[in-house]
Amino acid sequence: MVPVDTPTPPGAAIQPLNEPPPELSAREWHLRIDPLLVIATVGLVCCSLAALFVSTQDDVPGQPHYYVVRQGIYGVVGVCLMYGVSRIDYSRLRQFTYPLYGVMLSSIALVLVLGSVARGSRRWIELPFFNFQPSELGKLLLVLSLAGFMVNRMRTFDRQTTARAVLIGLVPVLLVLAQPDLGTSLVYVVGIAAILFVAGAPVRHFAVLGALAAVAASLAIVVPPMVGVTVFHSYQLQRLTSFIQPSSDPSDAGYQQAQSKIAIGSGEKTGRGVEDSTQVGLEFLPEHHTDFIFAVVGETYGFAGCALVLSLYALLIWRGLHILTIAKNLYGALIAGGITVMLLFQIFVNIGMTVGIMPITGIPAPLLSYGGSSMLVTFLSVGLLQSVHAQARETVARKGRAPLF
């Protein structure tokens, strides 16, 4: 993919000043998206559609393809969005750092006011076509605004910078936590840490932050019940602890995970096929179209199917890290780093949850779980990655054509 220039022959005259510079070719510009990344994303959407197709036939009476069709539409819209975003020069977004931050905060705050309640938490704003989940879009906006902030402060990277960045990031974390949505706020925290890490924050800053986080977390768990305030709902803690002894209580949190493990384990090497997948077909598997969709893949298509999905995810992460290294500027590197690490975290926690090595946190699997907000935001994020990639390639190509001294 790297365009190779014919090196200038030795002794040849340097390009005369009176000649016009070589034309910039817009034609090559739009080809500079990363095809591997496209393959990974589209492949994952296909896997998602296949899993939804086998698992949700009886979920909506009379509409066996309800979820498949909708997820398909989100996928198509998402691909368009991805392409659109990849055509934008992401660097321009830097000037909107603070407006983006404002939009993020206000949209998340809006949910607390207007959002519809589902299972004890407010996460959605109901729109005509789908339920918009601002905290999902917030992931991307947080990365953009925090990256912009870091770049502005890059000349004097000191304790102040880290502290401010953390404070800026902490506001949306707390807002999301108040919904309450523990899983998404953890994703935010990971995103903030990733951006600081890529920006080059000293390791001792992380050590201090980690210590502070540990103290804060233990205080948040221990103190409020004494004062009589609910910060963590008991079900959240129960989910976290039931993971330590997953089979202790088959009636609720542990039960979901046990059923998920049975589903995945029973898939064996090549899966039980659509007809015989009883864990899915007889609805032993909870949340089989959202949080536990990976278990559907596991039962129906076995280790082969799981390995395919994992490979596509690995491809996604590899390309993300690769794009991080080739970014034309720090802003791009920070965006790529934040997005990639967030994706990695979501993938690991979600799949870890389905195979019983992570607690149940309600984090969806990117591009695999059913859900418009998650799907579209992931495509936007991947679009930004593509933009970073395209800009990097473009810059390299131009520089190759027009060598500067």
Binding site: V2, V4, D5, P7, P10, A194, F197, V198, G200, Q259, K261, I262, A263, I264, G265, S266, G267, E268, K269, R272, T278, Q279, L282, E283, F284, G298, G302, F303, C306, A307, L310, Y313, A314, I317, W318, L321, L324, T325, I326, A327, K328, N329, A333, G337, T340, V341, L344, I347, F348, G352, V355, G356, I357, A392, V396, K399, G400, P403, L404, F405
Partner: protein, 740 residues
């Protein structure tokens, strides 16, 4: 200048960033590896395990109860059958908490009352022991008027005390069922159910409370034989009646009602304790197993194999009707054929009923009979009177009915007196004393003892029954006329040689359970020096500790009734089956069989064959003898001669009953027995007979509590049984004695 080449012109990636990206890449690699190997472990290494878990997840076995096998008599006449009936059951765990709390309260109160009753029963037993004739001492000197008044007063106090104790011992203080809990849900459920099945609310509450108290693990059957309409009504509205289960149940049916009712026992859901036993290893919870009698002994054969429906269910526990189900039909238990003869059992039951009503003037209420094959232990008939309708136990039984069935006033119909009641056996014990004396060389077959009608022992004098005098008699004649003095003398002589009579009695099967295939058998007691002296030592130590005088009433309450050591008088009493000796009718039958058959102590048994539904034999239940007792043939023949003369020769104790059988070609070897049970109390009647025959030998033992003389009350019952068994006319027993 050389233009910098392309690679160098790439945007600089600082070494620091390179390291950090490498770290991120490393983290990603580790994360993916963890997930990958976890998947490998779950799906490839342990996948099969999860496949089976997934299968179990969706397939439930719904157990279908198997009907129990029938029980038939030796001629295949049905004794116990099974029928299917629609019933309403209550699932205790699905009821509101209030119902279970009430039951727990009731259960606690009930066990407290029962504990009190048992205490009173123990006291009463000790009390009676003190006032037995053997415990009374003759006072040689005259008493003054004042002493007599004191004694009278004391006697009255004792009598009153006894009455009080008896009342407390016979029946536990009735425990009231707690009122229907005020729980709104429970009340509404009961009242709706009451309308649906036509059982008053209080009755429902009573049954549920009693049922949970009896067996907290099992469903409570509220009503059996409900109508189809009631069944359908409840079945269609199961959601509105939580905890109420209309179902069908196999009920036991006893076509002959009271006949042999004691033998069968009941069935009920297996208890958690039983489930731990090896014999119930493969039995699932909720299965009904035999709880007593033959149902318990032969439960393995009768139980059958439950079937199941394999149904596919979804995560909500609902049956998925679209999916294929497999079904294994339940298999009815095997048919058990007993050695019992229904016709003989009926005859015996009628005869003992007649005898008891004839002896009702004496206060006769209860009795028992056994007929057995002396060669192999097959029990032809075994029963206890009064009996009860066995069908009562096939349905929910109320506490009051149960109390009536166990009350002393009604004669405790549930008690199987043939194996679970012990009595002194009276003169029917004499052949055993005779055998011991002959075998141990105390007497020769021809030894003559002069029966003066009285036997002096220390300062006591004992007499023959009816104060008879028989003059010089040898063993055979002594048995014929039932001379007590002759046997008193044997008892006195035997006492010098130790526990001879006791040894022989135990050898022949007394003083220990016979091993019959029925649970609840009592061992009885053959008293000897060791037993009484040990008991007395304990009594003395206990009385000393309690500070009570030996022989006083306080000592009796505190320490029991063994208030004197062994004396020769005890052995003398034992020689004629009086005193402390306690045997069951079945034990006597075994002893007579052993003497009759030449020394084989048989194992009495009711089970004969196990047959399958098609009537083919699955298993022949073996005849077993427990051991052989060796004794000289001439000794046996002299004893049998005595027994024959007692039953057949004019002047024999029961010749007026059995004399007529001689003309029918049957020889009866029989002995009467009359047991003194205490001053002012009627005697207990016994009869034991051995009838040899080439194909149908028989040994019969009959006893009637408070029946009076053995020859008058017990012998006619035995005679009826013998006549029936050998297909002779019942008139033989009533024939006038032909005296020669």
């Amino acid at each position: 200048m050389m233009p910098p080449n392309f690679e160098q012109r790439r945007p600089a990636i600082t070494p620091q960033l390179a390291v950090r990206v490498a770290v991120l890449g490393g983290i990603a690699l580790v994360a993916f590896s963890i997930v990958f190997f976890r998947l490998w472990f779950l799906q490839v290494l342990t996948g099969e395990e999860y496949v089976s878990q997934a299968r179990e997840n969706r397939v439930r076995k719904v157990r279908i109860e198997a009907p129990r096998g029938d029980i038939v008599d030796r001629n295949e006449r049905p004794l116990v059958q099974t029928r299917e009936a629609p019933v309403v059951q209550i699932v205790p765990s699905a009821l509101p908490e209030a119902a279970r709390e009430a039951a727990a309260k009731y259960s606690m109160a009930r066990s407290k009352a029962e504990r009190k009753r048992l205490e009173a029963e123990d006291l009463l037993e000790d009390f009676d022991q003190q006032h037995r004739p053997t415990a009374r001492r003759a006072s040689p000197r005259k008493e003054s008027a004042g002493e007599r008044r004191d004694r009278k007063l004391e006697q009255r106090a004792v009598r009153q005390r006894r009455e009080k104790l008896k009342k407390a011992a016979v029946q536990a203080q009735p425990v009231a069922i707690p009122p229907v809990p005020s729980d709104q849900k429970l009340r509404s459920l009961y009242s709706r159910l009451s309308k649906a099945i036509g059982l008053p609310v209080t009755r429902i509450h009573e049954r549920v409370t009693e049922g949970i108290a009896d067996a907290p693990y099992a469903n409570v059957t509220l009503k059996t034989d409900i109508s189809r309409e009631q069944y359908n009504f409840l079945y269609e509205r199961r959601e509105q009646f939580p905890g109420v289960e209309p179902t069908s149940l196999y009920l036991r049916d006893y076509p002959h009602e009271t006949i042999a009712a004691h033998l069968f026992g009941t069935i009920g859901e297996i208890s958690p304790e039983e489930q731990k036993l090896e014999r119930y290893r493969d039995v699932a919870a909720g299965t009904r197993v035999g709880k007593d009698g033959i149902e318990e002994s032969y439960d393995d054969y009768l139980r059958g194999t439950p079937g199941y429906d394999k149904v596919v269910i979804d995560a909500f526990g609902d049956r998925d009707e679209r999916r294929r189900v497999t079904r294994r039909e339940p298999r009815q238990g095997n048919r058990l054929r007993l050695t019992l003869d229904l016709e003989l059992e009926k005859t015996a039951n009628d005869a003992i009923q007649r005898a008891i009503s004839a002896a009702a003037v004496n206060g006769a209420k209860a009795g028992a009979y056994v007929a057995m094959n002396p060669e192999n232990g097959e029990v032809y008939a075994l029963g206890s009177y009064p009996s009860f309708d066995a069908n009562l136990f096939a349905k929910p039984l109320s506490e009051s009915t149960y109390r009536a069935l166990t009350s002393k006033a009604n004669g405790e119909p549930l008690l199987n007196r043939a194996i679970s009641a012990t009595y002194s056996s009276g003169s029917t014990f004499k052949p055993i004393t005779a055998l011991a004396a002959l075998e141990e060389g105390i007497i020769e077959p021809g030894t003559v003892i002069n029966d003066t009608g009285a036997f002096r022992l220390g300062n006591q004098t004992r007499y023959n029954a009816k104060k008879a005098r028989f003059g010089p008699v040898a063993l055979s004649s002594a048995m014929k006329v039932s001379s007590d003095v002759f046997f008193y003398q044997l008892g006195a002589w035997a006492n010098d040689d130790g526990a001879i009579i006791q040894q022989w009695a135990r050898q022949l099967g007394l003083g220990r359970t016979t091993g019959i295939d029925l649970p609840g058998e009592f061992p009885g007691l053959i008293p000897d020096r060791r037993w009484r002296d040990d008991g007395y030592r304990k009594y003395r130590a206990c009385a000393k500790k309690a500070g009570a005088a030996i022989g006083s009433t306080e000592a009796l309450y505190a320490c029991g009734g063994i208030e004197r050591p062994w004396s020769v008088g005890d052995n003398v009493s034992l020689a004629i089956g009086q005193g402390d000796v306690q045997t069951t009718p079945l034990q006597m039958a075994v002893a007579y069989a052993a003497i009759g058959n030449g020394g084989r102590v048989v194992l009495p048994h009711l089970g004969m064959k196990v047959e399958n539904g098609a009537g083919q034999i699955v298993e022949e239940l073996p005849d077993r003898s427990r051991r052989n007792v060796a004794f000289a043939d001439e000794h046996r023949s002299v004893i049998l001669d005595g027994l024959r003369r007692a039953a057949m020769e004019p002047g024999g104790t029961s010749a007026h009953i059995f004399g007529a059988f001689a003309a029918e070609g049957l020889t009866i070897y029989g002995k009467t027995g009359t047991v003194e049970t205490g001053p002012g109390r009627p005697d207990q009647a016994w009869y034991a007979a051995y009838v040899p025959h080439s194909t149908r030998p028989m040994v019969v033992v009959v006893t009637v509590e408070s029946g009076g003389f053995g020859a008058e009350t017990a012998a006619p019952v035995a005679c009826s049984m013998v006549a029936k068994w050998f297909r002779k006319s019942q008139q033989l027993c009533r024939a006038p004695v032909v005296t020669g």
